[in-house]
Every structure is written in C-alpha cells, then in structure tokens.
Symmetry: C2
Subunit: 183 residues, 2 copies
C-alpha cells in the first residue's frame, strides 16, 4: 500500500490581511500543525504549496512579506515545495508528476481557503484519479456575498463548500479522526 | 477579437432523477435554450459536454436512458460534443485543445450542476487562462447536507457556490444581461 501524502496549500501570512473579511475556524493552523507533526514523526511524505500571486495588489505576491508561509507549517529542508500562480495546485506545477513518480495515490489536504484554492485543488486531484481526504477543521475561509446580494458568513461558506465536496470529490474528516486512525 | 464560445455542461435527462433531491431554478434549461438560440442565430461557437458516468448505479451511464442530453439544448450536427467521466470538462477531453486551435479565449458557461461539474469546469477553465462568464440563472443544483449535519437548500447551495466563484474565477451574469449585451 502506497504512502498517503499530506498536502498543505497556501498557508501564508498575507491571508491574515483584514481586507479579506471575517474568517472562520481560527484553529485551522494549529490543526494543520498537529497533522504535520504526525506525518513528520512517521516519515510520511509532506508537500507544501505556496501561492506566488501575479495580481498587482495581492499580499501574496513574492515581493510582499505576506507571501511567507506561516510558522505553524513552515517547510523543513527536504520537503518539496510547489509554487503556483492560479488556484489549482495542479496547474503550472510539477505536483502531479511528483506524486506519480513517488507512487502516491492517496492525499490528505489542508490549507487555505476552503472554497478557493483548497476546493479547486481537491476537485482536480480527485478528477486526476487521486483518493482525497479533506480535513474539515484543517481549512478555513472568509465571508462572501453572492451576486444576488445574499451574504454568507465564513462558517456558512465553509460548510456549504464542504457539502459540495464531500462524497463527490473526497471524504471530509476531522483532524481528530485522522490522528486516531493513524494511532 | 476572438469569438466567445457557449459551453453547455451535462444537461442530461438522468439529472431529473428524484434521488438527487430538491433542485433550484427550474428555468435553467429554458434560459440555456435562449442563449443557445442566440449563439446559433449569430453563428457563434457552441460546444456540448456530456457526462458518460462510469459509476455502477448512475443514471448518467451511457447504457442508461438518463445519459441523453435534454431536448432544450440537444446538439445540432456540426456542434462539437465532448464526453467525460469526471467532473471537469477539461480532464480526459479535447476541449482545451479544441478551444486553443479555434483561437477562442472567452467562454460563457451554463449547465448542471452549479457546484459539481459546472463549478469544477469554471475553475479549471479560469486557471487554464480562459476568461469565463458563468450564467447565474443558466445553472442549478440540489439540496445538500454538510459533514457536520448543516442542511442547505438547493438555492442556498447555488448562491454560496456563485459567491465562491464570482470575481475569483469568473464573472457571474444573468441570461438577460448576456442577451442584452449581444443585442
């Protein structure tokens, strides 16, 4: 049975910018850190994805301090880092090739944000044939307003997006459930 | 300026199966038909996408009557049809190659369902570099329940997903706005 990779997407300082609005799940980063520690302890594969924005005003541009990965999940030497400039971690990167060369078929995905880069990467991973687990409390998003004016809190956006993904593209599990399964 | 293609995704009989639950926007198919008529009248490019499911019990399997495209948007001879077995219209199909060979850079996307195949295809189209318009009332989805038990009506799922997509992956416009813009 091949190893399961932990993929950590876009956990960058710039996403703390208040311009993004209200965020849910302040525990996301500490949950990611717990999973990362469990993967490292067992020598299981960990892969990092960083968004190098090409938007003129994004705090995630490589020339901005907000591009930096947060300390909770900062890559260790030897852990592959894939950089991207779109939402999907699989477009314009060598992630798919690296996973296939490594014989990895199963992914546990965490990161930011639930409905933008995480959802897009989960969808594409599943459609490329990987078996994906998305960590419900290892991701988070922001409040948003629909084109018709309907406002959704960050928690509503998060849950509605998990509802779209669960069972169709991935199974959604909590940090605790994954750690218990590994123990 | 290159032509804008109308892409119609998975508008198939099998999605009327009551097992999918409550659906929003019963006018979606008639709105798609209005856009399709406008594209055909002007000789603009139209592309159809059909889901040929490989799931054992799906009504969208090619050996099931539910695989058939609904009459409102049934392809005419000469209109390309791309078949797929995953959510994204860009994985396992020649759609991307066909668009690039045709010099098409702008897409108007309609179809079913808002949060599964339409959202996945919109996201990937945008990340592949296309300029995407998603038609708010030319798509629809079903009620769903999040992993934590939160229930969302079909209309809530639809609007939350449009909120995730609008501005990040596409602009969301109504059928009326698109037709007015063409007139």
């Amino acid at each position: 049975m091949s190893a399961t990779a932990l993929i950590i997407i876009d956990v960058q300082q710039g996403l703390d910018n208040p311009a993004f609005g209200e965020r849910n799940n302040p525990e996301a980063e500490s949950n990611m850190a717990r999973l990362l520690a469990a993967w490292r302890e067992r020598g299981l594969p960990v892969m990092h994805v960083r968004h190098d924005s090409v938007e003129p005003n994004s705090p995630l541009r490589p020339d901005q301090p907000g591009n930096a990965i947060k300390p909770e999940v900062f890559p260790q030497p030897g852990e592959p880092l894939f950089t991207k400039s779109v939402n999907s971690a699989f477009i314009g990167t060598a992630l798919d090739a690296h996973l296939r060369e490594s014989g990895i078929e199963r992914l546990v995905i965490v990161g930011l944000t639930t409905d933008h880069c995480v959802s897009t990467s989960v969808r594409m991973a599943a459609n490329l044939g990987f078996e994906v687990t998305l960590v419900s409390d290892g991701t988070a998003t922001f409040e948003r307003t629909a084109p018709d004016g309907t406002h959704f809190t960050a928690e509503q956006m998060h849950n509605a997006n998990l509802a779209s993904l669960n069972g169709e593209f991935c199974r959604v599990l909590s940090t605790e459930a994954i750690l218990a399964d590994m123990a």
